[in-house]
Each structure stands twice: as C-alpha cells, then as structure tokens.
C-alpha cells in the first residue's frame, strides 16, 4: 500500500521534471520559429539570465540544505566548494588554442591538456564529433569538479566536523576564505592564473546548436543548466528519502538518540558533508559556465550568504522551498527590482499628485498595522510610540516632497534595489521565520487529508 503510493508520487515528480525541461526548451526557442514574439522571449531577455542563474543557484541551495537543513550541520563553506568546482572545471576545459592567451601573464598554462580537446583528438573536432567531444569533456570536467570539492570536504571534515553549530560555521567560513586567498596566489599562476580570471572555456551558449553557416538552429543554453540541476537535485532527493537520509535527519533531531540507535555519527556527518560539497562543486562549475569566467574574487562570503538567505527564505529542510526561493530571489535581484535602480521622472503634475497620495496612504496603513500588532501584544506605550515612527517619517517626507515640487520619483537611483531587497529579507526573517515552506515539500500540499488530521 505504502510502496504503491510512493511509486505513484515519483512518477508524478518525473513527469513534472520532464514537463519543466520541455517547457524550457520551448521557451528559449519560441523566437526561432515565431516572428513577433514579445520582448521577454527574445534570447537577450533578462528572463533567460534569471532562468540560467536560478538553475545554478538552486542546485547550490539544495546542496546547502542537505547539510544545514537535513543533517543539522551549520556550515558556511559553500562558496569555497563552489570555487574549487569552478576552478577545476575551468582549468580542465580551456581549449589548447586559447591557453597562451588566457595565461599570457605566466607564459602559458602548466596544465598541458584540455578535456574537450582530448576527446576531439579521438572523435574529430568538426561537426558531430566536435559536439560530442565538447559535451563529454564538459561532463567529465563537471564530475571532476564535484569530486575535487568532495575530496577537500573529506580532508577538512575530519577535524572540523567535531565542532558544533557556530564553531563549525566559523571554521568552514574560514576555510572558504583561505581557499580564495590561495587561488589568488601568484605562485600558483600557471595553474590558477593568479588573481586574473580564467575564460574562453565552454559556457552554456556553447551548447546552442548551429548549422554549417554559423546560424543558431536550436538553443539549448538555458536547457543545459536546467538538465544538470534537475539531475543533481533528483539524486539529492532520492538520497534524502533513502535510509541514509533518515539517518541524517535523526542526527539533526537528536544526536544522542541517533548514536544509541547505532548510527555512526562521524561517518554520517562526513558523508553528508562530502555529498553536499560534491554538488556545490558541480554548482560551482555551472556558475563558471554561467558567468563565462572563473575568478576567485567572486567566491567570497557574500556568495555563501546569498545562498544561505535563499535556504532560509525557502525553508530550512525543504527542497522544493529552496528551489522556489532561488528563482524568486534571482528574479527579484536580477530583473523585477531593477526598475528601482533607474531614476524616473513623472510626466504630468496629476500623476505626481497621485503618487504623493498613494505614498501617504501606504505610510498610514503600515502604521495602523504596526499599531494593531503592538496593541495585541500589550507592548505598552514604548511599542506604540515606536510604531508611529514610520508614519512620521513617511508623511513627513511626503509633505516635504509635495512642497519641493520635484518631478523625479523619490529614492529611485543606483543601489536602491538592494535597500528594498534588504527590507524584504528583514520582513521575511522577522515575521515568516519558517520560510516559504517550513519543512514541507510541494507534494505535501497535495495531501490534504493527512495534513488536516495532523492539524487536529
């Protein structure tokens, strides 16, 4: 009975993944066979940037969730493992022809081979042979990227995983920073290109299929990251639902009880750490492909925090939450909130008046909400006074703006997007602490009966 149910569930999941993958191919090729597609669907649209970056980030977020959410090990080393993956991928796939150009400061690369070129030597560099050798080279480089990250995780896991909570976070954060410094070291230049970026390796757009005339026939540049991410996330989901996944969750819930049940704590923590790092490494390779370069400078702690933020917003311990949050986050930061960065001017006096009125209403509404909350919680006069501050600020600025007669929309200029974004994040963390999904998955939302009974 139970077995049957889960089988049905996995079939549905598989169909969903296939539909999404098919949808992505369709979406990015619509402009090929239709003349007048809207601006959004053209290949240069922000939509595809968001989809590509979202796919890459969702893999990294899910890998972080495996460790932080499911095993309960609070690690902040994700950027470090991504860096290892990105560099491994980049170093192994820079074509022989561009090595001298990329490594010109160091007189050529110390790595005297390139995986795609190795395969091209066997299969031929032109036409189908060339395409197959490129795909094979990229694939193997990606797996190696994961393995290198996993190997380093295993190495530092031995001493570091004895630490608990904050100490583990600090140690892994430190490890990531050390890696970043080492990869920028000039002495390692012939391999890592020092502080300069490695580029010219195959990227997502290398997967677009062209005809002999050099015209693109089929776009696959968004499909490829989706495929890799979907595959990796599916493996992680299978792992979480296996007996290993149960052991991870047991460790998260109660280490002592888990140990008493015969679960080897250090072995399982090490395993979870290595697997999480493997996928972070693959994610790093994808990230290098996305940004078309690999440079240690980009893999700083801000990147880790970005991923951590996604995991928290999505819900610690929810895979689908992480994926949804990733796309929402990337879409906001890369696309939807961009308008906040461009100064805009009102066209007429009446639209300006309407804006002023709307601003005043919004300010008062927010204050009313806060006041109601403060009253419900019996916070006293201090809380009430604090709740009035936004109203005073809002209305005060509104009056000043009305008096000054400026026609430009207030606040909108470079950098304001990040301010708004920070406020949104603060609201999420303060009022929706469990994130979007808590520990639930999308599939749980379609099981109304069990949920309702559980609520009783």
């Amino acid at each position: 009975m139970l077995e049957k149910k889960s089988k049905k569930g996995s079939v549905i999941a598989l169909v969903c993944i296939l539909v999404i993958l098919g949808g992505v191919i369709l979406l990015e090729n619509v402009s090929m066979f239709m003349e007048n597609v809207p601006e959004v669907l053209r290949p240069t649209s922000q939509l595809f940037t968001v989809l590509k970056k979202g796919a890459v980030y969702s893999l990294v977020a899910v890998s972080m969730n495996l460790l932080n959410g499911f095993t309960g090990l609070f690690s902040l080393g994700q950027a470090g493992f991504m860096l290892l993956g990105a560099y491994t991928y980049a170093i192994l796939t820079v074509p022989m022809a561009s090595k001298d150009q990329v490594y010109y400061l160091f007189g050529g690369s110390a790595v005297k081979f390139s995986l795609p070129d190795l395969f091209a030597g066997v299969l031929g560099a032109e036409g189908v042979g060339g395409a197959v050798s490129m795909v094979l080279g990229v694939l193997i480089a990606m797996i190696l990227a994961g393995l290198v990250a996993a190997f380093f995780a295993w190495l530092i896991g031995m001493p570091v995983l004895r630490l608990k909570s904050d100490y583990l976070a600090i140690a892994t954060l430190g490890f990531a920073e050390i890696l970043r410094a080492i990869f920028q070291w000039q002495r390692l230049g012939p391999i890592t290109n020092g502080a300069n970026m490695i580029k010219n390796f195959p990227t997502f757009s290398s997967f677009n299929i062209e005809n002999s005339a050099g015209e693109t026939v089929l776009r696959l540049s968004t499909f490829v990251p989706f495929l890799v991410a979907a595959l990796c996330i599916a493996i992680i989901v299978l792992l979480i639902n296996s007996s290993y996944g149960r052991a991870f969750k047991a460790i998260r819930e109660d280490e002592i009880a888990a140990e008493a049940m015969g679960i080897n704590l250090s072995k399982h923590k090490q395993l979870s750490f290595c697997i999480s790092s493997f996928f972070a490494g693959v994610g790093g390779a994808l990230f290098a492909m996305y940004s078309a370069n690999a440079q240690a400078k980009g893999f700083n702690s801000t990147l880790t925090y970005e991923i951590l933020l996604i995991v928290v917003i999505g819900g610690i311990g929810s895979i689908s939450g992480s994926v949804i949050a990733t796309f929402a986050y990337v879409a906001c930061s890369e696309w939807w909130l961009r308008f906040l960065d461009t100064p805009t001017t009102f066209q007429s006096e009446s639209s300006r008046t309407m804006f002023i009125a709307a601003l005043a209403v919004a300010g008062i509404a927010i204050t009313a909400l806060l006041l109601l909350r403060a009253r419900k919680k019996k916070g006293g006069t201090g809380m009430m006074a604090a709740a009035c501050i936004p109203a005073v600020v809002f209305v005060g600025y509104d009056i000043y703006y009305a008096m000054s007669g400026a026609m430009e929309v207030p606040f909108l200029r470079t950098g304001f997007r990040m301010v708004v974004f920070s406020v949104i994040i603060m609201i999420v963390v303060l009022f929706f602490r469990n994130g979007l999904m808590g520990t639930r998955e999308i599939s749980d939302l379609f099981k109304p009966k069990a949920k309702k009974e559980a609520a009783k």
Binding site: A250, E253, D254, I256, A258, M261, G262, A454
Partner: protein
C-alpha cells in the same frame, strides 16, 4: 548472557562507577535500582558503548565487547532505550521506527507488525510527527524503536520517568510481555517498587558500587531497601 566484570567509568576525573560486577541471564529481567547519581545510567551507557570505560570488561554471549563502538554493539543485539525517551520529534512515528532498524538490511515488515501488535496506538498514529505524541506514547515509541533493531538484550533507562502511575503500569506490562517473547531486559529505575515487582533479579547501586543483591521479592522485603527506596 551479559556479564559485567569490575566495570569502572570515569567522568572527567570523577569515578562514577567504581568497579561493579553483575550478570544478566538469558530471558530474564534484571534491574539496577539506586538514587540519583548512583551510576545507573552511566553503567548502561558504558555497556552500550556511548561512554568509554576506564576498567573492567563487558562480556556478551561469551565474547568481550568492552570498548567496541555503539554501531557494533547494537548490531550484535544490545540496544539502549535512552533516558527521557529522546524520540525524533519532527519525524513521523513510522520514520522513527525505521531508524531503529537502521543497521539491518533485511525486510522490516514482520518487525513493524510485531511492534504495532505490542503498541496498537503507534499503528494508529504512524504518520504523525513523534513530537505530537503524549508522554506515554512517546515512551512506547522509544521502546518500539529500540525493538526494531531486534535486540537480544533491551536496556531501558528509567522508562517511568515523568509518566502518570497508570501509564507506568502499562509500560511495565509491556516490559513483561516483551520479556515473555524472549527478549532479555536490563532495566534501571528510580521507581524501585515497580521495578522490583517486575524483575527476576535486582541490584542496589550506591555511589558507584553494588551494595545489595537478591531476587526482586527478596529486595522488596528487605528492611534497608524499604527504608531507603520504597519510602515505607
């Protein structure tokens, strides 16, 4: 079946268990009673491999298992039901039970059936999160989870802790039932009355040493035990 010889355990320089010896015969119920800090829990944790011993030996079915790790000891057939139940609160009852059987690779169906037969309540609630169960049900779950490893010896650390008297009686009925089905039980308790009524053999532990030995009935009748542990 289980033979403890001169077992010593140190906790950061303090000798919690100062050389105790006792035996648990096959298919019996043996209890260790004693006040707080007498070294009862430490003894069980040492047998389970959760704390390091500083002397003496533990022998199980003729083999020395001193200093082996918990994974090894559980797979040989000694499982501990930890003090304070310690179920996994966010996992469902079924998942909790499956983790109990983590070290086994064979089919769980018959054992799940067995545990559900012993605790019909768990079957009703198999999809609920462990943390939503009542205290008594959580204790059932803790025992059921340990039974899923198919133990030869089940060690229980204060199963009556924080439970109402009527529920405690139910738990002890279950302990007898499990024992009747062939599982050896090593039980430690502060509720000396219940424990001694249930046990075949009892040992009184005081500040890390065994001070008295006897069958359950003998100890129940003993004046000193009555004064110190039974409050009569």
């Amino acid at each position: 079946m289980l033979k403890i010889n001169d077992l010593k355990v140190n906790y950061g320089g303090i000798e919690a268990v100062k050389g105790i010896s006792f035996e648990v015969p096959e298919k019996s119920i043996v209890t260790l009673i004693g006040a707080n800090g007498a070294g009862k829990s430490t003894t069980l944790r040492a047998i389970a491999g959760l704390v390091r011993t500083s002397g003496g030996s533990v022998e199980f079915m003729g083999e020395d298992i001193t200093g082996k790790d918990t994974t090894e000891i559980v797979s040989r057939g000694i499982t501990l039901v930890p003090e304070g139940r310690r179920i996994f609160p966010d996992l469902t009852v079924l998942e909790n039970l499956k983790i109990g059987a983590y070290l086994r690779k064979d089919s769980l169906e018959s054992d799940l059936e067995w545990v559900y037969d012993l605790f019909p309540r768990l079957k009703e609630r198999h999809w609920q999160a462990g943390g939503t169960l009542s205290g008594g049900e959580q204790q059932m779950l803790a025992v059921g989870r340990a039974l899923m490893s198919r133990p030869k010896v089940l060690m229980m650390d204060e199963p009556s802790l924080g439970l109402a008297p009527i529920i405690v009686r139910g738990i002890f009925d279950i302990i007898r039932e499990i024992n009747r089905q062939g599982v050896t039980v090593l039980l430690i308790e502060q509720n000396a009355n219940m424990a001694l009524q249930t046990a075949d053999m009892g040992y009184v532990l005081e500040t890390g040493r065994i001070t008295m030995t006897g069958t359950g009935a003998q100890l129940l009748a003993d004046e000193k035990v009555k004064a110190a542990y039974l409050g009569t």
